[in-house]
Symmetry: C2
């Protein structure tokens, strides 16, 4: 039976069907599909015609089974709702596509090690060939480093001091540039609204800020700490507005800067007339804050792309040393910064 059972519901055509229609063996079809050499052009054409006619599509599971390659990469991401992570994911996906890979995502509920473990396991169960982790928190990265058995892993957006390859923006030099920029405008010192503890970005940006101040011989004020949210920036801003001698603030990200701007506005402290503000990230909205925000741009898409390149290289086989790619951020000057008032 089989061939003559012209069942009404035609099952998906398989390679053998194409072969029969083209009058060749299934192996020849396979050769055409995989671009193998030694196929006579005429034969190839007949096979391709048969493929089109049947609308045949190779079964990826069967292929994966025999080649042991799923053509799939996994992405673990944490707050994928935010602009940064979302952009990195986007960059990763595009790069993966052009490298011939599919992308499967697993988002993290929380940042504890168990949750990371779970996400990575999930992806491994699916048979991904490699994993990109978008999880900028110290704990997540170290959790991943522990887990990384048997599947290559690359961290992106952070994790510069872990045992796995990473791609990040140079947070330290970005923060330094921002701080120096303010000092150059004549500010005696620069206050800092940092990100939450445990995030490498927070640490690095804070360190860059501190270093710039010290290099200039400026006093180092107490650090305010937020949680990246506009709300936390707002609250910090209310506190700072009451402080004496604050003329410049470097915020660890644009969202907190947004909240800070509003708090200063409501407290009657004009920006930049009274206080200058700098952010970090350059989210698309930053140019439309009131006033437009001077900030440090990171190219998240590029980060994602580079991370994927790194992963693909690693998959390539020749195991190179653990790579640490750092991308230089770029200062974007807008109207939230100005010269220190003579005071």
């Amino acid at each position: 039976m089989g061939s003559e059972t012209a069942g009404l519901e035609a099952r998906q055509p398989v390679m053998a069907d194409v072969a029969k229609l083209a009058g060749v063996s299934h192996q020849t079809v396979s050769r055409v599909l995989n671009g193998a050499p030694h196929v006579r052009p005429g034969t190839r054409d007949r096979v391709l015609a048969a493929i089109r006619e049947l609308d045949y599509r190779p079964n990826s599971a069967a292929r994966a089974l025999v080649t042991r390659r799923s053509q799939t990469l996994g992405v673990v991401s944490f707050e994928s709702t935010l602009y940064g992570p979302a952009s990195m994911l986007d960059g990763i996906e595009r790069a993966a596509r052009s490298a011939g890979y599919f992308v499967s995502v697993a988002s993290l509920r929380s940042l504890d090690s168990r949750s990371v473990q779970e996400a990575v396991d999930r992806l491994r169960d699916q048979g991904v060939e490699g994993i990109v982790v978008i999880a900028p928190q110290t704990s997540a990265v170290s959790a991943v480093a522990k887990v990384s058995s048997s599947v290559p892993v690359v961290a992106v957006g952070s994790g510069a001091r872990s045992s796995i390859p990473t791609v990040t923006v140079d947070n330290r030099s970005g923060a330094e540039a921002a701080t120096r920029q303010l000092l150059d405008l004549g500010h005696r010192t620069v206050h800092h609204l940092a990100g939450p503890g445990g995030w490498l970005e927070s640490q690095d940006r804070q360190e860059g800020w501190r270093r710039a101040l010290e290099a200039a011989g400026a006093p180092v004020p107490t650090v305010a700490v937020g949680d990246w949210s506009a709300r936390s920036g707002y609250e910090a801003g209310q506190r700072m507005a009451r402080l004496e001698g604050v003329t410049a603030v470097f915020c660890a990200n644009d969202h907190m800067a947004l909240g800070l701007l509003r708090a200063l506005h409501e407290s009657g402290r004009p920006v930049p007339g009274d206080i200058s503000v700098v952010g970090f990230d350059d989210i698309p909205e930053a140019a439309y804050f009131i006033p437009p925000l001077t900030t440090v741009r990171q190219d998240f898409g590029e980060l994602g792309r580079r991370a994927l390149e790194l992963l693909v290289a690693e998959l390539g086989g020749t195991d190179q040393p653990i790579a640490r790619v750092q991308i230089a951020p770029e200062m974007v000057l807008r109207r939230s910064t100005g010269p220190a008032h003579r005071g």
Copy 2:
């Protein structure tokens, strides 16, 4: 050879290895793994122990090959960098996970039909069982409807008048509520900054706005058109600031509202003193605009979740009629709206 070749690099253990270690047949291992009945508890325990000892993980490709189910769903998304799409993706992923599916993403370069076709094909080649499309533009949705052969498709975020199941926010009633809100505050009429043509959201929100005006017997001003970006909102705002008689503006999204707020600010038109502004979406930043933005909240995560539920139901088999889920949006009152000034 084979069994005695204790190769240094141990290959991934397979079911047979587990079976041998546990002293059972591979089929029994399979039964344990799939929770099949009729396995003696003692046997199950031995198998589980063997699985743990070898750190065995089932080969998903082999399973997919034989069951013809990949346990994978695809997501096609367009501007996945924006808050809305990113949140929907997040919601989809979470829901998929708890339904036992993996999620594979394919982002669109552009919104033409060819590009959509390409993305869908890509996912089908990967063997996804169903697809969620996050692509709120008319053309994309209709392209998908054409393509949807052989794989169930659900559209989310838009597409309320297509031939495929959809999950959306009720844009019309949201826009109506926003407009009515402004009219109730005493404004003679409400101007509208619409989204770009070709987007269903734009159309529906504009229609809701118009309907509310007509219901109140208010004049219907010319519509300004933006492209969702803050920049376009800014430009529209500059134009509106020069117009006579503008006391209230309903923007089709929060980003444009942000730009509009800045333009009004720079033109010396206080909000809400001179002009009231309402947005749509309630992005997390909206509460920290200057002034905080009154807007219409959509729960993007919920949209994603519902879309996935719909898709899973469709996969369930019993083909139900084409579903149209609409979620009610919610007005969020903040300080960007106030009573019309007398005069």
